[in-house]
């Protein structure tokens, strides 16, 4: 457990009759960035709020930096930073004021780093929060969080409202922090292109569960899109690959498979025959394949890539 910054076990959370999390088990290794991907209402924000100790799970357990998230001791609270929609400062607060408040609250807060972050995006420290654009607010909050040098960073839609250059700057700053401090981050976003650039691990969430969870490099290594006329995989392949989804696109059968190892692309092509096309799949294609054509089997397989 010690090399996991975050671990959840069968986490469940109900809001009235709505089940926001439905038995979610995740592990996040120290020194990695996990991105959560999924439609609105998939439970991403609920997970972050449970990890912060802002709400309690209905069932199951969540561990943050070795302690239960239910009873986060003060020591742990100071090592975790969270930026989300529902924790904004008042409109009249200037970045300079926020800097002072944060410096008083967190011993590890690096004032120079925070000022440098603001300067990098041309932000005046004297401009009140309410007068900033949406993107600038995100930038100030994320800078405040990173300047605390936290061991765990939880960012809920940090790129929302940012232009591409600002998004890249934000994620570069996050990567720098994670690499320098051996820190861990969990980030939610809808922008798949960003995920492909920053994620070490990806969890695709649907209806409160992780339908696919694993290192992004593993996905790139093992997931393939196969286009073939019949759509029936040869039986020799059945223990070598698992089927993640199927669709008929423009008259052809498309099958998304995960290679279980032991077979390289040439071997795969040999077994599939000359009529089949085997391609690498970007995350966007895979996400849409799962979102649109998700078979029941995938939900049952739970963790997917582990």
């Amino acid at each position: 457990m010690s090399d996991h910054a975050v671990r959840t076990v069968e986490l469940r959370r109900d809001f009235g009759t709505v089940r926001a999390l439905d038995g979610l088990s995740l592990e996040v290794s120290k020194g990695t960035i996990l991105t959560l991907l999924g439609p609105n209402g998939a439970g991403k924000t609920t997970l972050l709020r449970i990890l912060m100790g802002l709400i309690e799970p209905t069932n199951g357990q969540a561990f943050v930096l070795g302690s239960s998230a239910r009873s986060q001791p003060a020591g742990v609270a100071g090592r975790v930073a969270y930026v989300g929609d529902r924790c904004e400062p008042p409109d009249w607060a200037t970045p300079a004021l926020l800097e002072g408040v944060q410096a008083g609250a967190s011993r590890s807060f690096d004032r120079a780093l925070f000022r440098e972050c603001c300067k990098r995006r041309g932000l005046s420290l004297k401009r009140p929060y309410g007068a900033l654009s949406k993107g600038q607010r995100r930038w100030v909050l994320t800078s405040l969080a990173l300047a605390c040098r936290p061991e765990l960073v939880l960012l809920d839609e940090p790129a929302d409202g940012l232009d591409p250059a600002a998004r890249k700057a934000l994620y570069d700053a996050l990567r720098g922090h994670v690499n320098e401090c051996e820190a861990t981050a969990i980030v939610t976003t809808h922008v798949i292109a960003d995920i492909e650039r920053i994620a070490d691990d990806v969890a695709i969430m649907m209806a409160g569960r992780a339908v696919l969870h694993g290192p992004l490099e593993d996905l790139r290594d093992r997931v393939r899109q196969v286009e073939m006329s019949g759509g029936i995989l040869p039986p020799e392949l059945s223990d070598q690959v698992s089927v993640l989804g199927r669709a008929r696109l423009g008259g052809a059968s498309v099958v998304w498979i995960k290679n279980n190892g032991g077979l390289d692309d040439d071997g795969l092509r040999r077994l599939l025959g000359p009529d089949a096309t085997v391609r690498n799949v970007g995350l966007e294609t895979l996400y849409l394949a799962i979102a649109e054509h998700q078979p029941a089997a995938l939900a049952e397989s739970g963790k997917g890539l582990e």
Binding site: G176, N179, E196, R220
Partner: protein, 128 residues
């Protein structure tokens, strides 16, 4: 060291690094005993996890293209059965295999492919 990475191609990043460095060795841009950036430096430059760099360097070491000397760094070492020529030939063989597979899907016989390659080569500038 400049390495171009395509994060959206679905190709693992560690393999893109391996291929890019192989190409630099094959083309002579990286020579015997040249020092590669440290794991930390390359991770910082490419904005990726250091573990991805480690994986790429380990793969290159396994392929006999670099040696990791403890405490000193990572160096190009092409005398473990992998010379720049052999790396180059393997890279070209990979391209040829991909092209032949595509051509066979188009129904082109081998002789036709070879004829086209030859005629395209003749159209290019003559080599000195």
């Amino acid at each position: 060291m400049y390495l171009h990475l395509d994060h959206h191609s679905g190709e693992p990043i560690y393999r893109q690094i391996v291929e890019a460095i192989k190409y630099q060795v094959a083309s002579g841009r990286l020579a015997q005993e040249d020092r590669l950036p440290s794991i930390r430096t390359l991770a910082e430059e490419l904005k990726i996890n250091p573990r991805t760099v480690v994986k790429a360097y380990e793969e290159l070491q396994h392929a006999g293209l670099v040696v990791m000397r403890h405490g000193q760094g990572v160096f190009v070492s092409v005398n473990h059965g992998a010379t720049p020529q052999s790396v180059r030939q393997k890279a070209i063989a990979d391209m040829a295999r991909r092209m032949l597979a595509e051509a066979s899907r188009l129904g082109a016989p081998k002789a036709e492919v070879l004829r086209i390659i030859e005629s395209e080569a003749n159209k290019m500038e003559p080599e000195q």
